[in-house]
């Protein structure tokens, strides 16, 4: 069924179709309408779940961790400082290998306070061990939320579905709401291997020694580092698993096919712009304009940011003359976070394309089409001594 609604409502409808059993969330702009919609759906019995009100984001995720540990399908959502307030539990959920799904409605981080969009909030959590997916429009929000539960449950790793605050959360556009019965088949009820069970008590995530050691039955149990290595390795396996899940989704619903990254006019392009979220869609218009002028440039929208799809990145970019990374977050004191990742991935390539970096739209700073055009064109026509620094677009000066 086609609908015109906000991105937050698209997310809520995806959560509803996923038949979550527990929702615990604390409202924060621009995520608030998502939690409001979920509480409305639960109150109206359209979603048979427990909505647990909490006093903070830390507790919201703690409740979800408890619920998932007991075998329930659980969901939360937050933005910006809310995500940072729950950060300790964010790391815990990944270490505990709980298949949670969280929407991060991307917003700049204070101080100073901003309610507007950039990607600093979720990027700052990139090393927590979660799977991070960035989506570009409402259709991708609802589809990805559904796929995210199946992915989280398949690899026992929590998934963040990140979408732009305001640009996506508060805008309205048409999207298709998948058929409920088909979603039930795609995402059946899930039985966890390790659930808290009063009939069969066990300790979970107790203090773990640095070294492997035998348990009381004489079986060698892994140490902390071994357990963390498992998480790292299995994050890697999540890439092909996500591809399979996406293929199954495409089979059932007719949408998908490019879960890791989607490319636009990249085939045979001399230059490729890399970006994430709604900005990547916007750059398509600029790329069209430049191609009309004879500049062979495409745009690569990266969806899966963690685990970082190194091989796919190399395959997509190694034959270009230049790569232009435009992003809404950075590693302060260094450079754009995505820029650094892309450069590192391309380092072993024999014929290494140049990589330029532009920082844009922090805290909702207006992104001008003309600025995007000027920047991309400047990189496409750059001489060899174009300095390798992060360039900030749209500063007030």
């Amino acid at each position: 069924m086609k609908k015109i609604e906000s991105g937050n409502v698209a997310a809520a409808l995806g959560v509803k179709l996923a038949k979550v059993q527990v929702v615990a969330a604390y409202p924060i702009t621009p995520q608030t309408p998502l939690t409001e919609k979920l509480s409305e759906l639960i109150e109206g019995d359209e979603l048979k779940a427990e909505y647990i009100t909490v006093e903070s984001e830390h507790s919201a995720l703690a409740v979800c961790i408890g619920a998932a540990s007991a075998g329930a399908r659980a969901f939360t959502a937050t933005s910006a400082n809310g995500l940072l307030y729950m950060s300790e539990q964010v790391h815990w959920a990944a270490g505990a290998r709980l298949p949670l799904v969280m929407c991060v409605v991307n917003r700049g981080v204070g101080a100073p306070w901003t309610v507007w969009n950039d990607h600093q909030d979720s990027i700052s959590q990139r090393d927590a061990g979660w799977i991070q997916i960035y989506v570009n429009d409402h259709q991708e929000i609802i589809d990805t939320v559904i796929k995210a539960f199946r992915l989280a449950e398949a690899v026992s790793i929590p998934v963040m579905v990140c979408y732009d605050g305001y640009y996506l959360s508060h805008t309205y556009m048409p999207f298709d709401v998948p058929d409920e019965q088909k979603v039930d088949t795609f995402l059946p009820e899930y039985q966890y291997k390790h659930t808290l069970d009063p009939q069969n008590p066990e300790n979970l995530n107790t203090v773990t020694m640095p070294f492997a050691r035998p348990d009381r039955d004489g079986v060698t149990q892994p140490g902390y580092m071994d357990i963390r290595h498992n998480l790292h390795e299995e994050l890697g396996t999540a890439i092909p698993v996500f591809e399979q899940i996406d293929a199954a989704y495409k089979e059932a619903f007719g949408r998908g096919g490019k879960p890791i990254m989607s490319d636009y006019r990249c085939e045979g392009a001399d230059y490729i712009v890399v970006s994430m979220g709604s900005l990547a869609n916007r750059i398509k218009d600029v790329v069209d304009e430049l191609n009309d002028e004879g500049v062979k440039v495409g745009v690569l929208s990266l969806h899966l940011y963690r685990p970082f799809p190194r091989e796919q990145i190399i395959a997509a970019l190694e034959n270009a003359k230049g790569v232009i990374v435009i992003e809404k977050a950075l590693s302060y004191g260094n450079e754009g976070a995505l820029f650094g990742d892309i450069k590192a991935a391309l380092y072993p390539c024999e014929k290494r394309p140049f990589v330029h970096n532009y920082i844009i739209g922090l805290g909702g700073r207006e992104i001008k089409q003309a600025d995007l055009y000027d920047s991309i064109k400047a990189s496409c026509t750059a001489s060899e001594n174009f300095e390798d620094v992060s360039r900030w677009i749209g500063l007030n000066r």
């Binding site: 015109i4 507007w116 916007r282 218009d285 004191g333 003309a370 620094v389 500063l395």
Partner: protein, 206 residues
Amino acid sequence: MQTGRLYPTFSVQALKQDNMRSDITRIRWHGRGGQGAITAAKIVANAAFVTGYEGIVMVPSFGTERRGAPVSTSLKISKTKINDLSPTENPDIVVVLDHMLLDEVDVTAGLKEGGLLVLNSPRQLQDYQFKNLKLAIADVTTLSSEVGLKKGIVNSGIIGVLARAVDLVEMSVLAKEIEAEFVGKKPAENAQSALLAYERTVMGEM
């Protein structure tokens, strides 16, 4: 350590405007918080979608919103998908739900030359002195009380004025979408308000 440097000055390419796609119709709606400008835009969005427009994006003014304070919403409509989700700076059409806003907000800011201004006002066409635009006026506030709506409900009626002034979406389709949106909230009266405003709209060029 590598640090970001100020963005160097490139020769600024004079672009047509800040938007590159001429296939998009851009409508900016001005109202007051709580007056229902977003609902009105959403109704037109739904009607346009039913009519066959695939690219529909509605962008409410980002940030905080207070009841009674001026708010605006952008609605972009095209036959094909729209990628730019930023509020529109250069509308083709501006819709104003409350004529008193003209004293508070520069509603025609960025309105294209020869663009259309749709206004709910008790005044006459000749009372206004704009330059280089088309003006469509109806006293929606009075008309909507005539059909039995509570005083101040103008977000359904203003749609009739827009429908009369521009051939974007059929009035009959809009009326259906109005009834669907106002289920349980006097749907017939709301649709009637739009139809009446459609009939009473006065238009002129200046």
